[in-house]
Symmetry: C2
Subunit: 339 residues, 2 copies
């Protein structure tokens, strides 16, 4: 079955295409009985306004975009993005706005996509994730005048509105919990240094560790299980190993737990494990992982509402989401030295 | 900066909009020097054809769609879909075709989306996943004449082309490997019965188990870690428990391994564990999981090529992808009875 057109409706109703256009666009030019007859036939045929025609008339694409430039292998295993996407979707579906999702090789490819999408009116705005120090995307989007919402801290985001949660407060929550149990040597396996939220977490970790008189050590990794396990083995090989390790994602925390257990260590008796961004993954393992929890889908929905407002031309400030809270499970306990 | 329009180019070049249109569409009506000047200005301004205008003129949306109707919580943790999406993307990016991704509550919502997308020319075709017995989407897509490619076995798929891999052959590979090691009681924790590939795997499992004179038992679960663990505990509580368990996804296999270990059982000495659809998840745990491996991204890319061909009006048959192979890791061994 071909998509029904105005011509099909005109033929069936025995009127001109102009009459159909008047009726469907609710403009004068046809009698009331004819308008009703045309609308009934349009409904019967399943006619809907062509999105291309509508885009030409109102200048809107009627879609938003999200470009992710992480390697697919890492991406596939980390629940964060699917949760975020499902939250964005759940909000956009309210007015039937599709999300155009693409993966890019790197930031240069991502920027080329933005230029092309905007010039071609493919999307009315984009979600920006994984902000970097001196992020090259921010000035390009500002120059294009393309509506965008940053999902992440409002630092170096120029005039773009950010939807963010307070990572420094979350770091404090974890360190206070561990220090309160008696931990004095706490390590962190962080994400890539080039990401802005890694930098924020690192600064907070070092500052609060000093404040709590705790010895801290930080290793950089790429969010993969391989690097999470390798960093864990390196930390535990130290003559004075940490008694607790905090991981920047759930995947590295699971592999760190496994690596510690494979070395014959008991979790949490010998070493405690904390994951950032709780997910079902944290409950797959034994002991299940203590983790920083937040409603990632709600975070995505909030960003989607902000982008809809930004695309509607509203001048906007940043939106702070609730800070993550600590979900305590079996992987954290007091260190043996104080047991 | 506003998107450059033909009017902007006309103003800058000091010509009419009609002249710009002639020049950009490579039609007669302007002199050669004027055409060259207009093209130079268009390039300088970063002008690109408006996707809406192009869609109106050639009737193409220039995008493909994918609707997934699994719960976000399960979806987020299973690497399969992100791998599949990244493979589809990797192929579509070659001609800059965006993928429109949406999650739907159920099949009825999914079908409503197809009708609306097709009527509005939002997409030129869709990928169909998670085929069910008597799938209601197939006749709707056939009736609409909407190009579609089924990602899954060509059973009950009507005239829609399918891209599939041989699940029955994969089941045989696993059972022959386990029976060869001496296993005589083999269980399977399968996915939901309403999914067509679950039915195919179940039939193959029962047939090959009979052929190999192995006692088989099958439990149904929903792909979540919770149900995978519960099914595992139920199987292992049997007076004659299985010595090997095969899981229909990696998430359930990881939680099954953890559940067995929490019961004090050793893997693989007391029970062997096999996962279907290998992923990085299988290597996060200890022992790492023996799994059925295939290149899911390549599978997605193959489906994308097929959909591009289908949308181009080619009449097409099904495409069989390579069957999964068994990647042997630490979670499988001989049962104690024959050690």
């Amino acid at each position: 079955m071909k998509r029904p057109t105005m011509a099909d409706i005109a033929r069936r109703a025995g009127v001109t295409k102009a009459a159909v256009s008047f009726a469907l666009n609710n403009r004068p030019g046809v009698s009331e009985p004819t308008r009703r007859r045309i609308l009934a036939i349009a409904e019967e045929l399943g006619w809907q306004p062509n999105s291309a025609a509508r885009a030409l008339s109102d200048g809107k694409a009627g879609a938003f975009g999200l470009v992710i430039d992480r390697p697919a292998r890492t991406l596939g295993i980390e629940p964060f993005f699917m949760q975020l996407i499902s939250g964005i979707q759940g909000e956009l579906i309210r007015d039937a706005t599709p999300l155009v999702l693409t993966m890019a090789e790197d930031q240069a490819a991502e920027i080329a996509l933005y230029r092309s999408w905007w010039a071609q009116r493919r999307v009315d705005g984009v979600f920006l994730v994984d902000l970097q120090a001196d992020d090259a995307r921010v000035p390009v989007l500002e120059e294009l005048g393309m509506p965008a919402v940053v999902i992440g801290a409002p630092v170096g985001t120029g005039r773009l509105p950010a939807v963010w949660s307070d990572d420094a407060a979350a770091v404090r929550t974890v360190l206070e919990h561990l220090a309160g149990l008696g931990h004095r040597r706490i390590a962190r396996v962080g994400g890539p240094r080039r990401l802005r939220h890694t930098v924020i977490r690192t600064a907070a970790f070092e500052a609060f560790a000093r404040e709590l008189r705790v010895t801290s050590r930080i290793m950089e990794a790429d969010y993969s299980g391989e690097q999470g396990a390798a960093a864990t083995r390196a930390l535990l090989a130290d003559p004075e190993p940490p008694t607790a390790i905090v991981y920047d994602n759930d995947v590295m925390a699971v592999s760190g737990l496994t690596a510690a257990q494979a070395l014959g260590l008991r979790v949490p008796a010998d070493v405690s494990v904390v994951a950032w961004d709780d997910s079902a993954l944290c409950e797959l393992v034994h002991p299940s992982l203590t983790a920083l929890s937040r409603d990632i889908a709600a975070y995505g929905a909030r960003a989607a509402r902000r982008l809809r407002e930004a695309a509607g031309g509203l001048g906007l400030g940043d939106v702070q989401d609730t800070a993550p809270t600590l979900t305590v499970r079996g992987s954290v306990g007091a260190p043996r030295t104080v047991q």
